[in-house]
Amino acid sequence: MSDAGYTRRLSPSTRAALGVFARYGTIIGLLVMILVFSFLSPHAFPTYNNFINVLSQASLAMIIAGGLTMAVIVGELDLSVGYAASLHGVLVTGLIVANHLPIPVAVLIELALGALIGVVNGVIVTKLKVNSVIATLGVGTVLVGLSFAYSAGVPIVSGVPESFLQLALGRWLFGIPNPIIFMALVFGGLWLLVERTAIGQEIQAVGGNPAAARLAGINVDRIKILGFVLSGMCAALTGTLLAARLGSGTTNAADSYLLTAFAAVFLGSATLRDGEFHILGTLIGTLIIVLGFNGLNIFGAPTFSQFVFQGAILIVAVGLASLGRSLAES
């Protein structure tokens, strides 16, 4: 018997108000944040350049969060994404600088490798039946090791061609920074996949009730592996773009994206739907986090406050999501 907690004793009007808060709270929060920052810093914050700048900065976190969303939709966690992105950054620079591979080839190799890491994660979780937290933490740690083995921990900085940097710094379309374009393509593609394709229906079904999905004739293991593969490929793209932006392949460079991506995904699950993970939610979730960071930066808030902000917002996000779920069930 599902116990909806204290929510079941509320009056209908309070319940309706809470329902609105649980579903739209994140969006309201985003708008309030924009308004407050605009009011406090009318010259630095609400400008086209700042927004484009923030969005461009945010795009890398968004791409990794979009991929992570695919893993959590199929009901698993992927803790390897940050470490994987770091490894990809090191490898892609190495392939270009040391092996003199053409940039597109190097990028494609990274994407394929990202998919392979996803397959490994997926097979460990579905076939060996290892809990996904443990499996992906283990794989992620192995990836850290591989990254050190490849670069000996020394950043690859010299000989990085300008054309590679253009991948992240260029503005190839309508003067919009490339990361934003990549991010938009990833999110558009993932949204279409989940919401509008047959495979997307199966992805949602597997996340919602694996037993029912299996008995309805869906190959649950394959769908879960697909979730990890998409997560792995997005991590590869983020790692590659980060290396291009930094102009170097550095171990640990992308590790911190893990926490940002998790906070974004859970904030997203509290957005518009009742505690259900979805792509559009993740998009809004990441916006909240990066705009929050940006605002704190503009006001010169000390570094510690950013950690407090990120930790607190993760808890608020999960709280909102479970509030939404319990309202939906009661």
Partner: protein, 517 residues
């Protein structure tokens, strides 16, 4: 001293629970309207009604899980507002729900004492020895034979029911509410439960007994409240308490009988099963299933029927034996493989294995069969409009009671949920459809509709295998029935031999043969 006139000797009993004019709506749906319920101390009171009639809502209100919009509840004559399950138990009520609440890894004794105040030693530690002494008479009374330190998960469903009853008695409950207690019990276990219920009543504990099985209601209850469309339409007792009156009150009109007229003679063999085995539950199974036939699989709970179905469906793999579909070898390794080969399954546990409760009716109907929803044959995209239209058509065809195809399936009643699971297979038209307990926990009206639907599918040439623990169900529905006992198919019944009593007899016959004289 004047003798007291006999008519005065029995004072008008103060009801233990008297609920009146209870109304409750969820969103737009009116679950209860002016419903009333009165349970006297020490009586076994039946609560019956079609699915969606409001039984669960009424129980949830008594349990403090939800609050009525209007209405009054009095416990032993005193007005009571039951704001939480905690207060409900404080008032002397104990609830045993369909899905039993116990902690699998804790022991029998720990489960009995779960959430109850426990005796402490002087050091403030739980004094299990003293508790065990106190609880011993109750354990004796409900007939728990398992050792008290056994893990609850090692016990059968029936034994876990006994644990719940013992917990209620330790708590000195004055009213125990039992929701579909026999849904997952075998015949022998049911008999044991009935004698416990009678014993409770004799010792002054009232029982509110909720069940779809009218035989049990007639057997056990002294008074019965019938709910229909959220209203309490009848309270029957004494000579009025008959099966006919009950059914009339539940249905609220004439009861339609399923015509057993067969649309077509069964066709050629489509599935043939030879020597299928997976120990310990399936010892040996061989049979043929024909196109256009409804084949029943009867027997006691635990006879191996669901396990056999799992083999057919690729959920498990057999140790020995083989299957053929249309003459070609068929050895599914996963349910997905079985679906590709032309099977469909309506699983036993529709809420956990059949449906995504949070998703819409349209989503659940299209699960596993998405090709018809594609917007175009070349692109992989589905059309939400097509999905809504197809769902609407199925909702109409199966007369599923729902406001819209986008309504979450978790909000529907049991019968309507079952129709959604069956509806999923209507469009993909599998060659073989397996239904495991298709009408469990489903009301009489919806049961008739589901039976009609099954006959219709067979009429269209589908081969249907129906598993049912209710001996009443199979003779009405099936052309032929196989009875399983202890993992073997022990009898095949058809035509005039296919009767309720023949099925029951065959189910028990094998068991008795094994017992040495």
């Amino acid at each position: 001293m004047n003798p007291v006139p006999t008519s005065m000797a029995v004072p008008p009993a103060v009801p233990f629970v008297a609920a009146s004019a209870i109304s409750k709506s969820y969103g737009g749906a009116q679950a209860l309207r002016d419903a009333a319920l009165c349970v006297l101390p020490g009586e076994v009171h039946g609560l019956v009604g079609a699915n969606g009639a409001g039984k669960s809502t009424l129980i949830r209100i008594l349990a403090g899980l939800t609050q009525p919009d209007t209405g009054e509840i009095a416990i032993e004559g005193r007005p009571a507002a039951i704001a939480s399950p905690h207060e409900a138990s404080g008032l002397g009520m104990s609830f045993i729900h369909q899905e039993l609440a116990f902690v699998p890894d804790m022991t029998v004794l720990e489960n009995i004492m779960l959430g109850l105040p426990k005796k402490k030693t002087r050091l403030g530690l739980v004094d299990w020895a003293a508790i065990q002494r106190d609880v011993a008479p109750i354990i004796e009374r409900v007939g728990i034979t398992a050792p008290l330190d056994a893990a609850a998960k090692s016990l059968s469903t029936a034994e876990n029911w006994l644990i719940s009853i013992a917990r209620a008695l330790v708590w000195k409950a004055r009213l125990i509410v039992m929701d579909e207690p026999t849904a997952s019990l075998s015949a022998g276990e049911c008999r044991k439960l009935f004698s416990i219920v009678r014993g409770l009543s004799a010792s002054g504990v009232a029982v509110l007994y909720v069940s779809h099985r009218l035989d049990e209601i007639l057997d056990l209850c002294s008074r019965v409240t019938v709910l229909r469309d959220g209203r309490s339409v009848a309270v029957l007792d004494g000579p009025d308490l008959t099966r006919r009156r009950l059914v009339q009150a539940i249905v609220g009109g004439a009861v339609e009988h399923l015509s057993k007229a067969r649309d077509a003679a069964p066709g050629e063999v489509i599935l043939s099963v030879r020597g299928l085995r997976r120990l310990p539950r399936v010892a040996q199974a061989s049979f043929d299933l024909r196109r256009g036939e409804v084949l029943g699989l009867g027997g006691l709970v635990g006879a191996g029927r669901s396990e056999l179905a799992r083999l057919l469906y690729g959920a498990d793999r057999p140790d020995a034996g083989g299957m053929k579909i249309e003459g070609r070898p068929f050895a599914p390794r996963t349910p997905a493989g079985a679906v590709r080969a032309g099977l469909g399954l309506v699983p036993e546990e529709r809420r956990t294995e059949g449906l995504l409760l949070g998703k819409s009716i349209a989503f659940n109907l299209s699960l596993g069969n998405l090709t018809p929803l594609l917007a175009s044959p070349v692109l992989p995209f589905i059309s939400p409009r097509k999905r809504a239209r197809l769902a609407q058509a199925t909702i109409h065809d199966l007369s599923i009671k729902a406001r819209s195809p986008e309504q979450p399936v978790g909000r529907l009643s049991g019968g309507n949920q079952q129709k959604v699971v069956i509806g999923r297979w209507l469009r993909s038209k599998p060659k073989i459809l397996i239904l495991d307990e298709p009408t469990r926990g489903v009301d009489i009206g919806a049961r008739g509709e589901i039976h009609r639907l099954i006959r219709e599918l067979a009429g269209q040439g589908m081969a249907v295998l129906v598993i049912s623990s209710e001996p009443d169900e199979l003779p009405d529905l099936c052309d032929r029935v196989l009875v399983m006992a202890e993992g073997r198919i022990v009898r095949e019944l058809a035509g005039a031999d296919l009767t309720r009593s023949a099925i029951i007899e065959a189910s028990y016959a094998a068991t008795e043969e094994r017992v040495p004289a």
